[in-house]
Point group: C2
Chain length 210, copies 2
């Protein structure tokens, strides 16, 4: 098997695994994959030496659209506000599509992801990496002034978690909308800085009157 053949076979088996997950409504093992595919167990073990390698291939396929979006947005010549919007909107709308197509299957993937968080972690880190590039570019243009990049990253991640977290999608999908996403990104561009505007202006948490 050449490296290309192995990659192609790996992708084909990951797709089949996702079909089986959808059909059964549960996770799929290499044994079950062998039974449903035309491949021998030995061949499958060659491609996925551990069960976790099969899940890693499924995770990779799940996130392939997101990664493509992030790469394209970062490399594009859109104005920075538009880059931010596309960075979130295209991923959010694809997730919403998946959710609406089959909410139970979407919930199952969330559960599987929570059970294999180490394999999902890499994709979250990758999204942080691309977002860091966008933040650096925005800062060159004068936005998010006074904040170091890590702090800006953390604040932006928190303000937009409703549009990136599949768990939050499960909770409030009916309240999410790309127009609201646009308003939130506009708010961040208009308002995010290190400046203290008085919300925590006094040190005490006691109330002036009660």
């Amino acid at each position: 098997m050449t490296a290309d053949e192995a990659d192609g076979k790996r992708l084909e088996l990951a797709r089949l695994a996702m079909d089986l997950i959808a059909k059964r409504g549960s996770a799929v093992t290499r044994n079950e994959l062998a039974a449903e595919s035309r491949s021998s167990r030995a061949r499958i073990d060659e491609i996925f030496p551990e069960e976790s390698d099969l899940f890693a291939a499924v995770v990779e396929l799940w996130y392939s659209h997101d990664i493509e979006v992030m790469e394209r947005v970062v490399a594009s010549d859109l104005p920075i506000q538009r880059k931010f919007y596309e960075f979130y909107a295209q991923r959010y709308m694809r997730e919403r599509e998946r959710f609406e197509e089959d909410p139970a299957l979407f919930a199952l993937y969330v559960e599987l992801g929570e059970g294999h968080f180490e394999q999902v972690r890499g994709y979250i880190d990758l999204a942080d990496h691309y977002l860091t590039e966008l933040i650096a570019q925005a800062q060159v243009e004068g936005f998010f002034s006074g904040l170091d990049i890590d702090r800006a990253l953390s604040l932006i991640n928190q303000m937009l978690i409703a549009y990136t977290s599949p768990q939050v999608m499960l909770m409030i999908s009916h309240r999410l909308h790309e127009e609201k996403l646009a308003r939130i990104i506009d708010t961040i561009f208009a308002g995010l800085s290190a400046e203290d505007n008085g919300s925590s202006g006094v040190n005490t948490l006691r109330l002036a009157s009660s």
Copy 2:
């Protein structure tokens, strides 16, 4: 039993139920409550005619601190930015305390709440009600211009979900901090309006280049 006695007994039994939930790590039925309390099953049925009435009393006790905070903040004479901050910070810090004290028990309550969402819903609606009052006051002072109250409410809820959702607490508690909360509220006061700042300025979602 006078109404006051019944209220006192209801509170006492709800506290006992929470102790039992913590001890066992699982939900508690009226039968189990009767076995552990000095009250007869008949007396417990008088106070909680249905299982759901027992859970409602537990939910009420769980949220009693939050409700007290919201009432005090809305009635206070703090500047509006400080009101927003206290409205979120005092509830968030109490939740964090509960989470850090016993993460597994906290997760159990999240699970119980998800299983009885109709009873939790009332408290979410109540928080929306109080937040609406704060938004109306902020708008009188010129903030959040051009947005109708429901839209402002939805946007603010989404930008701050990391600090209100116990599910999000379970996911990213280590990334949350009251200083970040203050920056997010400052961002909302500085930046939230109906104004289009260009993030979704063109209708197409296609990228200018890729």
